[in-house]
C-alpha cells in the first residue's frame, strides 16, 4: 500500500519534541541508530486534560487478552474519558520473534530528577527534562501535565519477583519500527531517553526518527 509521508523528522539524542497526528494518520517511530528507548505519551489535541494512561491501558489490555505491561494493542486515555486514543498496528519487536522473553516495551515510569538523586547522580539530564521541553512547545507546564507513567517503546524492563524494576538492553535494532494509528486528533509527546547509566539504551543515548503518514 502506498504511503504518503506527511512529516519525517529525526529527533536528536537526549531531547524532547511534540508532533501533531490527526485521526486516521499513522505515527511511526523508527530506530534510527539502534538500541534506544523513546518515552511516549499522547494528548487529545482538543482537550489536553485527556491524556494517555499507560498503566491503565496495560490493565485494560490484559483484561481483554490483547496485551499487558510489556506490549500494548489499544492505548486508552485516563478516566473519566477512557477512549481508545490510538492502536498499535505494527510492532516489529513486540510482534516478532527476537528471542526475548517479553513483549519488548514497558508501560511504566521514566527517569526523573529524584531518581537520579537517589542513584547518586544529581543534575544528570532525565526524561523529565525532555518532557518539560516538549510540553513547553504546546504551552503547558509540567504542573499541568502527566507523563510519569508512559509508553516506554523498546524499553526491556519488568517488575521482578521482589518488586524491583529490572532492565535489560533493548531488543530493537536499527530500522525497526512501531506504528500507531490515531483514533482521534493527537499530540504525540516524545522524550528520546537520555539515560546512559543503565542497560535501557545499551549505555549510550542515540537519536530517533519519527514519521507521520497516511496510507492510501
Amino acid at each position: 500500500m502506498a504511503e504518503n509521508i506527511i512529516e519525517d523528522i529525526v529527533v536528536p539524542r537526549c531531547s524532547g519534541k511534540t508532533m501533531k497526528v490527526n485521526k486516521g494518520q499513522v505515527f511511526r517511530v523508527i530506530a534510527h541508530e539502534g538500541k534506544q528507548v523513546v518515552d511516549l505519551t499522547f494528548l487529545n489535541a482538543s482537550n489536553y486534560k485527556e491524556h494517555f494512561a499507560a498503566e491503565h491501558s496495560a490493565v485494560l489490555n490484559s483484561m481483554q487478552g490483547i496485551g499487558g505491561y510489556y506490549r500494548l494493542n489499544k492505548l486508552y486515555s485516563k478516566p473519566p474519558y477512557e477512549n481508545v486514543m490510538a492502536k498499535v498496528i505494527s510492532d516489529s519487536v513486540g510482534d516478532g520473534d527476537r528471542g526475548g522473553e517479553r513483549g519488548g516495551h514497558f508501560m511504566m515510569c521514566h527517569c526523573s530528577k529524584r531518581l537520579l538523586d537517589h542513584l547518586g547522580m544529581p543534575g544528570t539530564r532525565t526524561c523529565s527534562d525532555n518532557f518539560a521541553d516538549a510540553f513547553k512547545e504546546i504551552g503547558l507546564n509540567q504542573e499541568d501535565t502527566y507523563d510519569e507513567t508512559i509508553f516506554n517503546v523498546w524499553m526491556q524492563s519488568w517488575i521482578g519477583e521482589d518488586g524491583g524494576m529490572c532492565s535489560a538492553p533493548p531488543l530493537v535494532e536499527e530500522g525497526d519500527s512501531i506504528d500507531f494509528l490515531a483514533e482521534m486528533d493527537l499530540i504525540a509527546v516524545i522524550s528520546v531517553c537520555p539515560d546512559e547509566t543503565s542497560p535501557c539504551n545499551d549505555f549510550k543515548a542515540k537519536a530517533l526518527r519519527f514519521q507521520v503518514l497516511e496510507e492510501g
Partner: protein, 222 residues
C-alpha cells in the same frame, strides 16, 4: 502515648471518602471485615495539583541507597512521592505487616464494561463522590494509578506482562500505616468490585484511624 487516636471512622462498602491528614500524623487503613481492597489517592492539602504517583513511588522506593530494595519496592512500598515536577516525599509507610498491595490502576467504567457489567459501580464513582466535597473532579486527577491496599495482584515477569489477580490474603484487623510528611488530602475507595476475586467476590467496609505521630516525626517537624 504513640497510639493516641485523633479520629476514627468506617467507610461503608462500595463508597468513598476524602479527608485530611496533617504532617506528622499517622493514617491507618484497616480491614474492618477482611479481604477487601481499599484504593488510596493522596494530594498535597495545599496544592491539589501535587498528586501521589503510584508506580513512580515503587521505583523511587526501590532505587535508593543503601541497597536496592532496602526502602521498598513495587510490591512493598516504602515511600510515597508526588508527581513531576514536585517529586516530594508525601508519606512513608511505617507499618505493613501483611505487605500486600498493588500500585496500579483502580477499577473504572471501562473495567466493568470489559467484565460484562456495564454501568456497574466502580472506584471511579467512589472517588468522584469523595473528591466532590473538596472541589475536585476525576478529570483533575492526573493518573488512575493508586495504592490498592490489600490487593493481591502481581504482574507477569514474562510475555505481555499480564496481571494475576488473587483473592486478598488480608483478614479483619490487618492494616497498613502511613506517616504524613506533608499535610495531605486522602481519598479512599472501598472498592465496589464484586465481579472479580479482587475483593473475594463480596464488597465490605474499610476502617480508618488517624493517630498522633511517632516521636521521630514530631522531632523532624520541629
Amino acid at each position: 502515648m504513640s497510639d493516641n487516636l485523633i479520629d476514627e471512622f468506617v467507610i461503608p462498602k462500595c463508597s468513598g471518602k476524602a479527608f485530611k491528614v496533617n504532617r506528622g500524623q499517622r493514617l491507618r487503613v484497616i480491614e474492618y471485615e477482611g479481604k477487601q481492597v481499599a484504593s488510596l489517592m493522596f494530594f498535597n492539602a495545599h496544592n491539589y495539583k501535587e498528586q501521589f504517583m503510584a508506580e513512580f513511588s515503587g521505583g523511587l522506593s526501590y532505587m535508593q541507597p543503601p541497597n536496592m530494595g532496602s526502602v521498598g519496592s513495587h510490591y512493598r512500598l516504602g515511600e510515597l512521592y508526588s508527581k513531576v515536577p514536585y517529586e516530594n516525599l508525601m508519606l512513608r509507610v511505617t507499618d505493613n505487616k501483611l505487605g500486600d498491595h498493588f500500585l496500579g490502576t483502580h477499577c473504572t467504567k471501562k473495567t466493568m464494561e470489559i467484565q460484562g457489567v456495564p454501568g456497574h459501580r466502580s472506584c471511579s464513582d467512589n472517588f468522584s463522590d469523595a473528591l466532590q466535597e473538596f472541589g475536585l473532579q476525576l478529570k483533575d486527577v492526573y493518573s488512575p494509578s493508586v495504592l490498592n491496599a490489600f490487593a493481591n495482584v502481581t504482574i507477569d515477569q514474562k510475555g505481555d506482562g499480564v496481571l494475576h489477580v488473587e483473592p486478598p490474603r488480608s483478614e479483619q484487623g490487618d492494616y497498613i500505616e502511613f506517616e504524613a510528611e506533608m499535610d495531605v488530602l486522602v481519598a479512599v475507595s472501598a472498592c465496589p468490585d464484586d465481579q472479580s476475586v479482587i475483593n473475594d467476590h463480596s464488597c465490605k467496609a474499610i476502617q480508618i484511624q488517624i493517630l498522633e505521630g511517632s516521636e521521630s516525626a514530631e522531632k523532624a517537624a520541629e
